[in-house]
């Protein structure tokens, strides 16, 4: 069972209290973008076997959105952080490196 800590209200709970919101840090493309950029924004996903950055909402709690870094194989959560960022914070990246040396994710690693 997946257990997450909401960084907004501090509550730790199991997954049924949260709603998954898909991959985080997806770059938004709008009018004027090429077809390929728009396709990638809407459909293309990292879908990694390993470290994954993702969006969650504390649906049955404070109701706020946040981000999480999680391993898709073991469900280990490396940390949760504010949704008001476009890249994962340094502390989160360091926590991942400590456990998964050599991990990669787009240009963040």
């Amino acid at each position: 069972m997946l257990i997450l800590t909401c960084p907004c209200c501090g509550v730790t709970a199991e997954e049924t209290e949260f709603a998954a919101g898909g991959e985080a840090h997806v770059k938004r493309f709008g009018p004027g973008a090429s077809d390929e950029e728009f396709r990638d924004y809407i459909f293309a996903r990292e879908n990694p076997k390993g470290v994954h950055f993702e969006r969650w909402r504390h649906a049955n709690g404070c109701g706020k959105w946040f981000h999480a870094a999680r391993c898709t194989i073991t469900l280990e959560v490396f940390g949760t952080y504010s949704a008001q960022t476009t890249t994962p914070p340094k502390a989160i990246c360091a926590a991942i490196t400590a456990k998964r040396p050599g991990w990669t994710w787009r240009d963040f690693a």
Partner: protein
């Protein structure tokens, strides 16, 4: 390879059935093949089979990191139907269903296809309208389905409770020629037929890298060494993203765990397949008597092959209203498989940005029923560069906005 027949059973009895031999060879890889298929699930094996049968291409290897059929092909609830809404889907799924009817004879291997009929329940007004629309679409596509009322549902499935109270059964979409087949046997039957054509099926051989030269594929790295190839087919379901990454492109796919469970065996009580999409449960009875129950998919992507625990309770709670007798059953086993979900809930059969690499994936929660048709179409695509049944499912539909939207037609798509 020894042909299986009633006569063969009698002949082998004379030597106490010790002379049957292996159903397929277990060779070491050669250094080069014309075609390498990654993934010995149903779709990969069927692709190899029709490459040989329809196009005479037999210098083929099928590489499997685990054991044959150990992916979703050996983990699914084996529902076979072809009552989809969109024409492109109906064409490939109906081709598959039709091929299933003669598959045991074609492969000389009993895949236990059981066309017992498949019933999709309508339990809300929107489902009533949706399935009536599908029934009309199917009539135009030449797929035999029928809208039936609640009384007919009760006749077909005496153990059902049609009165609700929360979700009364308002009718259903009935496909009399749908049903089930034995999942392992489908993989084994294709493997045996491929091996008999001289193809190499290599188990415990994981592909770890894709070698390219000048934008073109030249081979793969594997746990059993490097293997050169002319063409490469990626048919790895939930692991498609990982394979695509090795070849340097991304896919419109996310991988999640989907679960199923079976009950203790009981006496025959239901001789059709029933799907209840609103309450999200579906059920059939196996030949051993177990009730085979399909569960939920996780909402977040993962590779656990297990699935979240709470889905079990959710699935059974939903089934109990419609099938009250389920509340008395003990559940024996639960498992999960990693399914590959696309944005429009339709599969991908396509060329890729790398010349010589073809991909067949995105069958998600509902590709067992498609195995023969998918192999048929994908073999043609790999041999000729295009195929009438596959062309609509190409990757560029996501750039062009040309979706084959099956997500509205069926909330779950098994």
């Amino acid at each position: 390879m020894k042909r299986y027949s009633a006569f063969a059973v009698a002949r082998e009895a004379l030597s106490y059935h010790t002379g049957w031999g292996r159903a397929w060879r277990a060779p070491e890889p050669k250094s080069r093949y014309d075609v390498v298929i990654v993934g010995a699930g149903g779709h990969g094996l069927a692709t190899a089979y029709y490459l040989g049968k329809n196009f005479g291409i037999t210098n083929v290897a099928v590489l499997e990191k685990g054991w044959l059929g150990g992916g979703n092909t050996g983990r699914n609830t084996t529902i076979i139907r072809s009552n989809y809404l969109q024409d492109s889907s109906a064409a490939i799924f109906e081709k598959a269903r039709a091929l299933y009817e003669g598959l045991s004879q074609d492969l000389n291997y009993n895949v236990m296809f059981s066309p017992r009929g498949c019933l999709m329940l309508a339990q809300t007004q929107s489902e009533v309208r949706g399935y009536q629309r599908t029934a009309h679409a199917n009539a135009l596509q030449g797929v035999q389905t029928e809208w039936v009322g609640p009384q007919r549902v009760k006749e077909l499935v005496p153990i059902i409770n049609i009165d609700g109270p929360r979700y009364p059964v308002l009718g259903g979409l009935w496909q009399a020629r749908g049903g089930t087949a034995r999942h392992d046997a489908v993989a084994w039957g294709y493997a045996r037929a491929c091996s008999a054509m001289g193809m190499d099926i290599i188990q415990q051989c994981e592909v770890t890298g894709v070698r390219r030269e000048g934008g073109k594929v030249v081979g793969v790295d594997t746990s059993k060494g490097a293997i050169d190839c002319g063409k490469l087919g990626m048919v790895v379901a939930g692991h498609s993203g990982a394979l695509a990454e090795m070849a340097g492109f991304r896919l419109p796919i996310e991988s999640v765990a989907l679960q199923a469970l079976v009950s203790e065996p009981i006496k025959p009580c239901m001789d059709v397949v029933v799907m209840a999409n609103t309450v999200h449960g579906y059920m059939s009875q196996s030949d051993k008597g177990e009730m085979v129950i399909g569960g939920g998919t996780d909402s977040f992507n993962n590779y656990t092959q297990r699935g979240s625990f709470h889905h079990i309770e959710h699935t059974l709670a939903a089934l109990i209203e419609t099938f009250p007798m389920v509340s008395r059953l003990k559940m024996l086993r639960q498992w999960g498989g990693i399914v590959d979900m696309t944005g429009d809930r339709s599969p991908i059969l396509s060329k890729t940005p790398v010349e010589g690499i073809f991909i067949n994936c995105g069958w998600g929660t509902g590709g067992f029923k498609a195995i023969p048709g998918s192999g048929w179409a994908f073999a043609e695509l790999m041999a000729k560069g295009h195929a009438p049944l596959a062309d609509d499912f190409s990757l560029d539909r996501f750039t062009e906005g040309r979706f084959i939207d099956e997500s509205v037609a069926a909330g779950v798509a098994h």
